[in-house]
Protein backbone atom coordinates (compact mmCIF):
# COMPACT_ATOMS: atom_id res chain seq x y z
CA UNK A 1 0.00 0.00 0.00
CA UNK A 2 1.06 3.62 -0.60
CA UNK A 3 1.20 6.13 2.23
CA UNK A 4 1.79 9.84 1.71
CA UNK A 5 4.07 11.35 4.37
CA UNK A 6 4.46 14.99 5.37
CA UNK A 7 6.67 16.80 7.87
CA UNK A 8 6.04 20.31 9.14
CA UNK A 9 8.00 23.11 10.77
CA UNK A 10 11.12 22.04 12.70
CA UNK A 11 10.53 18.38 11.80
CA UNK A 12 10.63 19.22 8.10
CA UNK A 13 14.00 20.89 8.65
CA UNK A 14 15.29 18.03 10.83
CA UNK A 15 14.25 15.40 8.28
CA UNK A 16 15.69 16.75 5.03
CA UNK A 17 15.85 13.22 3.70
CA UNK A 18 12.44 12.20 5.02
CA UNK A 19 10.41 10.31 2.42
CA UNK A 20 7.26 11.92 1.05
CA UNK A 21 5.78 8.53 0.22
CA UNK A 22 6.31 4.97 1.44
CA UNK A 23 5.18 1.62 0.15
CA UNK A 24 4.23 -1.14 2.57
CA UNK A 25 2.61 -4.54 2.68
CA UNK A 26 0.29 -5.26 5.59
CA UNK A 27 -0.93 -2.91 8.30
CA UNK A 28 1.31 -0.14 9.63
CA UNK A 29 0.89 2.11 12.63
CA UNK A 30 1.62 5.81 12.50
CA UNK A 31 4.84 5.22 14.45
CA UNK A 32 5.89 2.58 11.93
CA UNK A 33 5.31 5.06 9.13
CA UNK A 34 7.71 7.40 10.94
CA UNK A 35 10.32 4.59 11.18
CA UNK A 36 10.11 3.84 7.48
CA UNK A 37 10.06 7.45 6.33
CA UNK A 38 12.86 8.89 8.47
CA UNK A 39 16.43 8.07 9.34
CA UNK A 40 15.62 8.30 13.09
CA UNK A 41 13.67 5.18 13.97
CA UNK A 42 12.56 6.22 17.44
CA UNK A 43 9.83 8.83 17.06
CA UNK A 44 10.45 11.63 19.60
CA UNK A 45 7.82 11.86 22.32
CA UNK A 46 6.76 15.40 21.53
CA UNK A 47 6.03 14.70 17.86
CA UNK A 48 2.35 15.05 16.99
CA UNK A 49 0.73 12.98 14.24
CA UNK A 50 -2.25 13.22 11.96
CA UNK A 51 -3.86 10.87 9.48
CA UNK A 52 -5.94 12.43 6.74
CA UNK A 53 -5.98 15.79 8.56
CA UNK A 54 -7.16 14.32 11.88
CA UNK A 55 -4.98 14.07 14.99
CA UNK A 56 -3.95 10.46 15.69
CA UNK A 57 -1.91 8.62 18.31
CA UNK A 58 1.33 6.88 17.20
CA UNK A 59 -0.15 3.42 17.75
CA UNK A 60 -3.14 3.86 15.47
CA UNK A 61 -3.25 2.07 12.12
CA UNK A 62 -2.81 3.60 8.70
CA UNK A 63 -4.62 2.55 5.52
CA UNK A 64 -3.70 2.51 1.85
CA UNK A 65 -3.82 6.00 0.39
CA UNK A 66 -3.72 7.78 3.76
CA UNK A 67 -1.82 11.02 4.28
CA UNK A 68 0.26 10.84 7.47
CA UNK A 69 1.79 14.02 8.89
CA UNK A 70 4.31 14.65 11.68
CA UNK A 71 4.73 17.99 13.37
CA UNK A 72 5.87 19.69 16.60
CA UNK A 73 3.51 21.27 19.16
CA UNK A 74 1.49 24.02 17.52
CA UNK A 75 2.33 27.68 18.18
CA UNK A 76 -0.24 29.72 16.32
CA UNK A 77 -2.45 32.58 17.43
Amino acid sequence: MAIKVRFFASLREQQPDGLSQIEAEGVLTVAQVWERATSTPLMPENVLCSVNLEHREPGEPVSDGDEVAFFPPVTGG
Binding site: A9, S10, S50, L53, A69, P73, V74, T75, G76, G77
Partner: protein, 144 residues
Protein backbone atom coordinates in the same frame (compact mmCIF):
# COMPACT_ATOMS: atom_id res chain seq x y z
CA UNK B 1 -17.04 33.73 5.85
CA UNK B 2 -16.24 32.15 9.18
CA UNK B 3 -12.58 31.20 8.66
CA UNK B 4 -9.99 33.13 6.67
CA UNK B 5 -6.27 32.56 6.18
CA UNK B 6 -4.35 35.50 4.72
CA UNK B 7 -0.88 35.28 3.22
CA UNK B 8 -0.53 39.07 3.29
CA UNK B 9 -1.15 41.53 6.11
CA UNK B 10 -4.83 42.08 6.87
CA UNK B 11 -6.72 44.97 8.46
CA UNK B 12 -8.53 43.70 11.57
CA UNK B 13 -10.70 46.81 11.83
CA UNK B 14 -11.95 46.44 8.27
CA UNK B 15 -12.60 42.71 8.59
CA UNK B 16 -14.41 43.26 11.88
CA UNK B 17 -16.58 45.93 10.27
CA UNK B 18 -17.36 43.59 7.35
CA UNK B 19 -18.21 40.82 9.78
CA UNK B 20 -20.73 43.01 11.63
CA UNK B 21 -22.15 44.47 8.42
CA UNK B 22 -22.93 40.95 7.20
CA UNK B 23 -25.41 40.51 10.09
CA UNK B 24 -28.95 41.93 10.20
CA UNK B 25 -29.06 45.45 11.71
CA UNK B 26 -30.34 45.39 15.27
CA UNK B 27 -30.05 41.60 15.62
CA UNK B 28 -27.02 41.52 17.90
CA UNK B 29 -26.17 43.41 21.06
CA UNK B 30 -22.63 42.24 21.73
CA UNK B 31 -19.43 41.83 19.73
CA UNK B 32 -16.29 40.62 21.46
CA UNK B 33 -13.08 40.50 19.48
CA UNK B 34 -9.42 39.79 19.95
CA UNK B 35 -6.43 40.70 17.83
CA UNK B 36 -3.03 39.09 18.31
CA UNK B 37 -0.24 41.30 17.01
CA UNK B 38 3.37 40.43 16.36
CA UNK B 39 5.62 41.94 19.00
CA UNK B 40 9.20 43.08 18.41
CA UNK B 41 10.44 41.04 21.35
CA UNK B 42 9.93 37.55 22.77
CA UNK B 43 11.59 35.58 25.55
CA UNK B 44 13.95 38.47 26.19
CA UNK B 45 15.19 38.72 22.60
CA UNK B 46 14.61 41.33 19.94
CA UNK B 47 12.62 39.82 17.06
CA UNK B 48 12.71 41.36 13.58
CA UNK B 49 10.49 39.00 11.56
CA UNK B 50 8.48 35.82 11.78
CA UNK B 51 7.26 33.10 9.45
CA UNK B 52 3.97 31.36 10.10
CA UNK B 53 3.74 27.87 8.66
CA UNK B 54 0.49 25.93 8.53
CA UNK B 55 -0.90 22.65 7.23
CA UNK B 56 -3.14 23.63 4.31
CA UNK B 57 -6.43 21.81 4.49
CA UNK B 58 -6.02 20.61 8.06
CA UNK B 59 -5.68 24.08 9.59
CA UNK B 60 -8.85 25.46 7.98
CA UNK B 61 -10.75 22.35 8.99
CA UNK B 62 -9.59 22.71 12.59
CA UNK B 63 -10.60 26.36 12.73
CA UNK B 64 -14.05 25.50 11.42
CA UNK B 65 -14.34 22.81 14.09
CA UNK B 66 -13.35 25.34 16.75
CA UNK B 67 -16.21 27.59 15.62
CA UNK B 68 -18.63 24.66 15.64
CA UNK B 69 -17.54 23.81 19.18
CA UNK B 70 -18.20 27.41 20.24
CA UNK B 71 -21.66 27.32 18.63
CA UNK B 72 -22.51 24.23 20.65
CA UNK B 73 -21.44 25.77 23.94
CA UNK B 74 -22.84 29.29 23.59
CA UNK B 75 -25.80 30.97 22.01
CA UNK B 76 -23.92 32.99 19.42
CA UNK B 77 -25.10 34.64 16.23
CA UNK B 78 -21.87 34.42 14.24
CA UNK B 79 -18.15 33.94 14.71
CA UNK B 80 -15.03 34.80 12.75
CA UNK B 81 -11.45 33.53 12.81
CA UNK B 82 -8.80 35.21 10.66
CA UNK B 83 -5.17 34.06 10.78
CA UNK B 84 -2.02 35.15 9.00
CA UNK B 85 0.32 32.70 7.30
CA UNK B 86 3.69 33.36 5.68
CA UNK B 87 6.22 36.08 6.44
CA UNK B 88 5.17 38.69 8.94
CA UNK B 89 6.70 41.77 10.58
CA UNK B 90 6.42 43.30 14.08
CA UNK B 91 3.23 45.31 14.46
CA UNK B 92 1.32 43.22 11.92
CA UNK B 93 -1.76 41.31 13.07
CA UNK B 94 -1.38 37.55 13.45
CA UNK B 95 -4.90 36.54 14.40
CA UNK B 96 -8.39 37.99 14.78
CA UNK B 97 -11.25 36.25 16.55
CA UNK B 98 -14.70 37.79 16.88
CA UNK B 99 -18.10 36.69 18.13
CA UNK B 100 -21.49 38.37 17.81
CA UNK B 101 -24.30 37.44 20.17
CA UNK B 102 -27.44 38.87 21.70
CA UNK B 103 -25.85 39.40 25.12
CA UNK B 104 -22.32 40.07 26.24
CA UNK B 105 -21.51 36.99 28.34
CA UNK B 106 -21.70 34.61 25.38
CA UNK B 107 -19.64 36.95 23.20
CA UNK B 108 -16.87 37.31 25.79
CA UNK B 109 -16.77 33.61 26.64
CA UNK B 110 -16.90 32.35 23.07
CA UNK B 111 -14.33 34.83 21.76
CA UNK B 112 -11.85 33.77 24.40
CA UNK B 113 -12.62 30.11 23.74
CA UNK B 114 -11.85 30.59 20.02
CA UNK B 115 -8.42 31.97 20.89
CA UNK B 116 -7.53 29.32 23.46
CA UNK B 117 -8.78 26.52 21.23
CA UNK B 118 -6.94 27.67 18.13
CA UNK B 119 -3.73 28.22 20.06
CA UNK B 120 -3.83 24.71 21.49
CA UNK B 121 -5.27 22.81 18.53
CA UNK B 122 -4.73 24.48 15.15
CA UNK B 123 -1.69 23.49 13.11
CA UNK B 124 0.30 26.71 12.92
CA UNK B 125 3.99 27.01 13.68
CA UNK B 126 5.99 30.19 14.26
CA UNK B 127 9.63 30.68 13.33
CA UNK B 128 11.24 33.86 14.61
CA UNK B 129 14.10 35.81 13.08
CA UNK B 130 16.13 37.51 15.78
CA UNK B 131 17.97 40.82 15.58
CA UNK B 132 21.31 38.97 15.44
CA UNK B 133 20.19 37.22 12.25
CA UNK B 134 19.57 33.82 13.81
CA UNK B 135 16.22 32.13 13.50
CA UNK B 136 14.43 29.73 15.82
CA UNK B 137 11.17 27.84 15.98
CA UNK B 138 8.89 28.93 18.80
CA UNK B 139 8.65 25.81 20.96
CA UNK B 140 5.40 26.37 22.76
CA UNK B 141 2.67 28.88 23.27
CA UNK B 142 2.29 30.97 26.38
CA UNK B 143 -0.64 29.84 28.52
CA UNK B 144 -3.79 31.93 28.28
Amino acid sequence: MAVQLHDESFDPARLLAEFETSLPVGSFGATASFVGTMRNHNEGDSVTAMTLEHYPGMTEKQLEEVIQDARQQWNIIDALIVHRVGDILPGQPIVLTAVCSAHRAAAFDACRFLMEALKSRATFWKKETLANGESRWVEKNTPG
